[in-house]
């Protein structure tokens, strides 16, 4: 698992949209004045007639996307997560309620966003989206899986939310894996402990696993890129094998991946757990990596939680 090379999820998004747009003539993209930064503008350059920038108006962006979808279009729309959150009403009552083909991209998720500060660091989006019926919720970790999941979302029916990141992330996949919505990926097999992570925390989980290996603890590392519908089978199978689970996410520990895993295990196979994530607090300005250390979103913290759990 080479971690030296990194790649931008936003560039992966732009490439995936252009590729899909070439195949799907009924696909359109709607943006809200963040299209250059998110690279959705790449689609706009290639297919200007199918690209609409509505300005800084997120509610209108979702409403227009719904209207396009109600007329038979497959719609990708999005902006930074914190801005998108002011359109939760439209997302709930229009996109999800009517089961529309609107794929919503939330960029700049999590505290790892960095210098823009707490106002721009969304730590509640996965929880909110997960609670909306019909919504598929995705949080890919690297460039390849982002492209794969965007493509599948575009090819499947109904609403989806895809959270991507501001920063480039280590490339975790070789490029020949069969990444599927609803199917968690076991990146490393192990027997003493399971680490389930998503987004930027997957590479931290892999680092923690090698630190644990030095202590003689064998960890299974799972990339749970789909939070809903969650891969119950893979999670329970791994928990039965290892008997201890640590979750890791750049998101509030309330309602996100950790909660989703806890729901699965508490009912399917009660297992000792620890959750690494944001402890119900807002972030602040700083460099992404500095902030991740300060808020415990790092391999060292996963390692510590794992040691405590395994020793219990």
């Amino acid at each position: 698992m080479g971690e030296t090379k990194t790649a931008s999820l936003r560039e992966a998004l732009g490439e995936a949209l252009v590729s899909l747009g070439g195949e799907k003539k009924d696909m359109v993209v709607v943006g809200a004045d963040t299209t250059e930064s998110m690279k959705t503008l790449e689609f706009g350059k290639k297919f200007p007639e199918r690209f609409f920038n509505v300005g800084i108006a997120e509610q209108n962006m979702i409403g227009i996307s719904a209207g396009l979808a109600l007329s038979g279009k497959t719609v990708f729309c999005g902006t930074y997560v914190v801005f998108l959150e002011r359109a939760i009403d439209q997302i709930r009552n229009t996109v999800a309620y009517c089961n529309l083909d609107v794929k919503i991209i939330g960029s700049h998720g999590g505290i790892s966003v960095g210098p823009d500060g707490g106002s721009h660091q969304a730590i509640e989006d996965l929880s909110i989206m997960r609670a909306i019926p019909r919504m598929v919720v995705l949080a890919p970790a690297d460039s390849y899986s982002t492209k794969a999941l965007i493509r599948q979302a575009g090819m499947s029916k109904g609403p989806a939310y895809i959270r991507i990141l501001r920063s480039a992330t280590p490339m975790l996949y070789k490029g020949n894996e069969d990444i599927r919505i609803g199917k968690a990926e076991v990146l490393e097999g192990g027997s003493d402990l399971t680490i389930i992570a998503n987004g930027i925390m997957v590479s931290e989980a892999l680092r923690a696993a090698s630190m644990l290996k030095e202590k003689g603890i064998s960890s299974e590392v799972i990339d749970c890129h789909t939070i809903k519908p969650i891969d119950t089978e893979t999670i329970i199978r791994s928990a039965k094998k290892t008997g201890a689970v640590v979750t890791a996410e750049d998101h509030n520990v309330f309602g996100g991946l950790g909660s989703a895993v806890a729901e699965v295990l508490s009912m399917g196979h009660p297992t000792r757990m620890a959750m690494v994530g944001v402890k119900d607090t807002f972030g602040e300005s700083g460099d992404g990596p500095e902030l991740m250390k300060k808020y415990g979103l790092c391999s060292e913290n996963i390692f510590n939680e794992a040691i405590k759990l395994v020793k219990k």
Binding site: N60, I62, L68, S71, T94
Partner: protein
């Protein structure tokens, strides 16, 4: 009127026929609300001439083929007027009239606020205010992409103009030069908690829309001929058009007219009987 070929637009109707339809609709609305004993009479009654003009005069639509791609779209953005929409759809033949009695009841297709996945003829969901014009923009853009000639009509309330999203959409429709989009405002002057002048004044509505660079047509929303003329003039202007229809909340029933109490309350049995008598067609 049932069985008319709406696809060539229901222009067979003369003014007298349309007045009879409008009176029938008011009666249907009151009877439907009487059965559900829950819902919004005031803002339903104020829309009657607007809906009559659209469904029985202006729009090209086909109740036998509700998803016909070339149909004109009617978007009820003020979703609480669902009883009015359901009554007009039933009268056109989108579903059996008997089903009106199931409004707001368990397992009914007639949800308290419209659900397009449940009932044929419903284009958008209702509920929160202020979303319909955005959806109308999306549909008008899709029509342009698909090189189709149909028109998208969006009916809003004047209380709904409080919502910020309306003005986001007002800007966008002009940016995209949507001449296949017509907004209609049912300006009945009353919202849930009182008169719009007191809750959030919308007295300079026409000036606001003109300032956003829309073409504005002002009409008496209960004068069928005026509403029909406005709809005839509302397309092909190179920009979107808004018809501001001055109406009376609870129109046709003396104790409901302009009375905020009947925004979301159904009159008791005795008053309902009195109301139904008042809205019957009197031959004028």
């Amino acid at each position: 009127m049932q069985g008319t070929d709406f696809t060539i637009s229901g222009r067979a109707a003369d003014l007298r026929d349309l007045r009879i339809i409008a009176a029938d609709l008011r009666k249907d609305i009151l009877e439907t609300l009487g059965k559900s004993n829950s819902g919004h009479p005031g803002g339903s009654l104020s829309t009657v001439e607007i809906l009559t003009s659209l469904y029985f005069y202006k729009m090209r639509h086909n109740p036998k083929d509700p998803k016909w791609a070339e149909r004109d779209r009617f978007l009820l953005s003020k979703g609480h007027a669902a009883p009015a929409l359901y009554c007009v759809l039933a009268k056109c033949g989108y579903f059996p009239k008997e089903e009106l009695g199931t409004l707001r009841k368990l397992n009914s297709r007639l949800q308290g606020h419209p659900d397009p996945n449940k009932l044929p003829g419903v284009e958008i969901p209702g509920g929160p205010e202020g979303i319909g014009l955005s959806e109308g923009i999306g549909m008008a853009l899709a029509a342009r992409l698909d090189k189709r000639k149909h028109v998208v009509y969006v009916l809003m309330g004047d209380g709904e103009q409080d919502e910020g999203e309306v003005w986001e959409a007002a800007m966008a429709a002009v940016k995209f030069k949507l001449e296949n989009l017509v907004a209609i405002i049912d300006k009945n002057g009353v919202q849930q908690e009182g008169k719009t002048m007191d809750i959030m004044p919308t007295d300079s509505l026409a000036e606001k829309w003109r300032a956003f660079n829309w073409e504005v047509i002002e009409v008496d929303g209960h004068d069928l001929q005026m509403v029909m003329n406005a709809l005839d003039e509302a397309t092909g202007k190179g920009k979107p058009v808004v018809v501001i229809a001055k109406t009376i909340k609870g129109k046709g029933v003396d104790f409901m007219e302009g009375n905020p109490e009947y925004h979301g309350k159904v009159p008791n049995k005795e008053l309902l009987e009195k109301a139904i008598k008042q809205v019957e067609y009197k031959g004028n």
